[in-house]
């Protein structure tokens, strides 16, 4: 059975903890193990931070929409901002020696590491969307 939870926040960093609370509740309900749950929380956190700071450029009146879709075997999280999107293939590799000491540029790398699928797209009604999917481990 598929269930959906949606929330919408103003682009304020103080609301990021609210998203984390919902993420924790969802991963607990889905019985992800502790490690996976904490990495999912980090990946969603990074996506929301990117939406606020890069997508919406910290304009508090622009919304970030977060939609959790839970299925038996997987969690998918959609994070939509009101920005113009970007080409993720153009991002520098944070692990290359030239970039190792850069203070930024690791958020999407962490998302890709900890989630099974990460896809960036443009929303048909405007803004960009990142889709994060984590599959349950087969026990």
């Amino acid at each position: 059975m598929t269930e959906t939870i949606e929330l919408s926040i103003d682009s304020k960093l103080e609301f990021v903890d609210l998203v984390a609370s919902v993420t924790k509740s969802v991963t607990a309900k889905m019985e992800f193990d502790e490690d996976d749950a904490s990495w999912i929380e980090l990946a969603v956190h990074e996506a929301v931070i990117n939406a606020i700071t890069h997508g919406n450029r910290n304009s508090a009146d622009k919304q970030v929409e977060v939609r959790f879709v839970t299925e038996q075997e997987a969690l998918t999280v959609y994070v939509r901002d009101r920005g113009e999107g970007f080409d993720p293939s153009q991002l520098p590799d944070p692990t290359s020696s030239d970039n190792l000491l850069n203070p930024s540029g690791r958020g999407i790398f962490y998302m890709r590491t900890f989630m099974d699928e990460v896809e960036h797209s443009i929303h048909p009604e405007g803004g960009s969307v990142v889709r994060l999917t984590k599959n349950k481990r087969s026990s």
Partner: protein, 115 residues
Amino acid sequence: MASLSIKDRQAGDVTILDLSGKITIGEGSVQLREAVKRMLDDGKKKILLNLGDVSYVDSSGIGELVSSYTTTGNNGGQLKLLNQTKKIHDLLTITKLVTVFETHDNEETAIASFK
């Protein structure tokens, strides 16, 4: 409510910053930056960051550790890590930053390593 608490103490000429809480975008990262800057401004150039009570770090927090490391180095000092948690170790490993930071699990050994 402060997301990160930072207390400093001296062990000879080594300054230990005991961090507790979250190093994340915004307040936590700024607090760490300011604390390291304050130490450097005071001429304290051997800095050991004790991460044992850090509960959560995001990519901005990892970036701030990198900035603290480079700022300290640029000021003729050294910055090392003590008691990194498993999560921090994983985040540093994935981004190959384990090759950058000198890390210790024992405070005495860490302090002695600055000599």
